[in-house]
Symmetry: C2
Subunit: 251 residues, 2 copies
């Protein structure tokens, strides 16, 4: 069910009423599997449904003068393209990193849901705003941090987001990125990403064995990354209904 981790995540950021949870669990959806690198949506596409990440890893990408730039990342529970509800024309690509399972919910259903529930409108709108807050942090990341902090910051962010949906175990989480992917995400060359990761390893801040990353000495890592999670706008509180409690680690 695509709603499981979605609910877990919405709980973490807004808190949901019983009826909202019920409405979400009764969402109609179709499921599709994607392979590494496959496109969920391409620049120029017009979407008529929204993707919910059930498992795996998605990323947004824009190509500029031949060079790819990864714009953001999505894990289970995220809805990477809710924005297509109001901005159907895609101005970038949405792709899978590693294999992923995606649920698709028709725009028409979501629109109905939103007009009938102001609180869900609030919750979903809020999600799109958190997405924007994350972009802002990435602008700062690319504009103001050096390579080491930049890569470290990416790890910290993914870990913080994955924790919310129970995808971190023992400080370890799934990240199906090659160093080339990381390079595209961080605006660096592969070679330099390689050296940067070595440096993080050397300092005892991370362990990396694809596809897993393990964060060691979290505080020191966050200090190096200048990471503070406030921009993720997590609440830490619990809502009124249960989301999934799964702790699946793979994908």
């Amino acid at each position: 069910m695509p709603s499981q981790k979605l609910i877990q995540r919405l709980q973490a950021v807004v808190g949901l009423s019983e009826s909202d949870c019920y409405a979400l669990t009764s969402m109609p959806y179709t499921v599709r599997e994607f392979r590494d690198g496959e496109y969920i949506l391409r620049e120029g596409d017009r979407a008529s449904q929204c993707a919910v990440v059930m498992s795996g890893f998605l990323f947004r990408e824009k190509t500029i003068g031949g060079r790819a730039q990864i714009l953001s990342l999505y894990i289970a529970g995220d809805m990477p393209d809710v924005h297509t509800l109001h901005l159907p024309l895609m101005d970038h690509d949405l792709r899978s990193a590693g294999p992923s399972t995606i649920g698709f919910v028709p725009h028409s259903f979501l629109r109905g849901l939103l007009t009938s529930s102001p609180s869900l409108t609030h919750a979903i709108w809020r999600e799109t705003l958190i997405d924007a807050a994350i972009y802002r942090e990435w602008v700062a990341n690319l504009g103001a941090r050096d390579a080491l902090a930049r890569v470290a910051h990416m790890f910290c962010e993914i870990a913080a987001r994955a924790e919310v949906v129970g995808l971190v175990k023992n400080s370890e989480f799934y990240l199906p990125f090659t160093q080339q992917n990381i390079a595209y995400a961080c605006g660096l060359s592969v070679v330099h990403v390689n050296r940067t990761i070595q440096e993080l390893r050397r300092r005892g801040l991370i362990e990396r064995e694809r596809p897993m990353v393990k964060l060691l000495r979290r505080e020191e890592l966050e200090r190096v990354a200048e990471f503070t999670p406030d921009y993720l706008h997590l609440r830490g509180e619990k809502g009124h209904c249960k989301g999934g409690t799964g702790t699946q680690l793979q994908r």
Copy 2:
């Protein structure tokens, strides 16, 4: 009236019904003037009203390890902090560049407006999504373009947005930024911004005499900047009611 340029802008991106326009023109608001550098909102603040830029220039800023990073820019007709409706806690600063006139509309009023008009909800939500699309482009700008393209791109974007609200005359628009500001926005050093602007001037692409910028050879400039305006999601069509048609140039 804060609604004038706002309507003009909303027209350009969605098209508004007569009644929506009427609702907007009857917005209650207070006006305040800000001086150069003054803070409209600070990180940590909780907003209870939304700013509408009536004239002048605002920017978002985040400070990271001592270094400021400008995240985005706002001109007349923009509502830089609608997001506070659903995410009241500011995770960054909002400041004035040069003097500006800002209208403030209470959250409570806007919430009423939005629950009563699905089309306005759509329009305003869409605005926040375009804001996000602009951040995405900035991520790409900082991550994938060199200094010359980066600065050129900033000029192109501001021009495109200013055109929508009639703030460009004769390819010339108001930009009350010092080279230091531009440096913070583009993730570059002042010295290099200086040299980059000289290069743009030398190539006959811009003229700059603070606080005005004039774009020459627009196509060539956009080629250098690798600028395509699609991410701004302008429609080019006209809606059902008139916004202001002013062509005020100063501020």
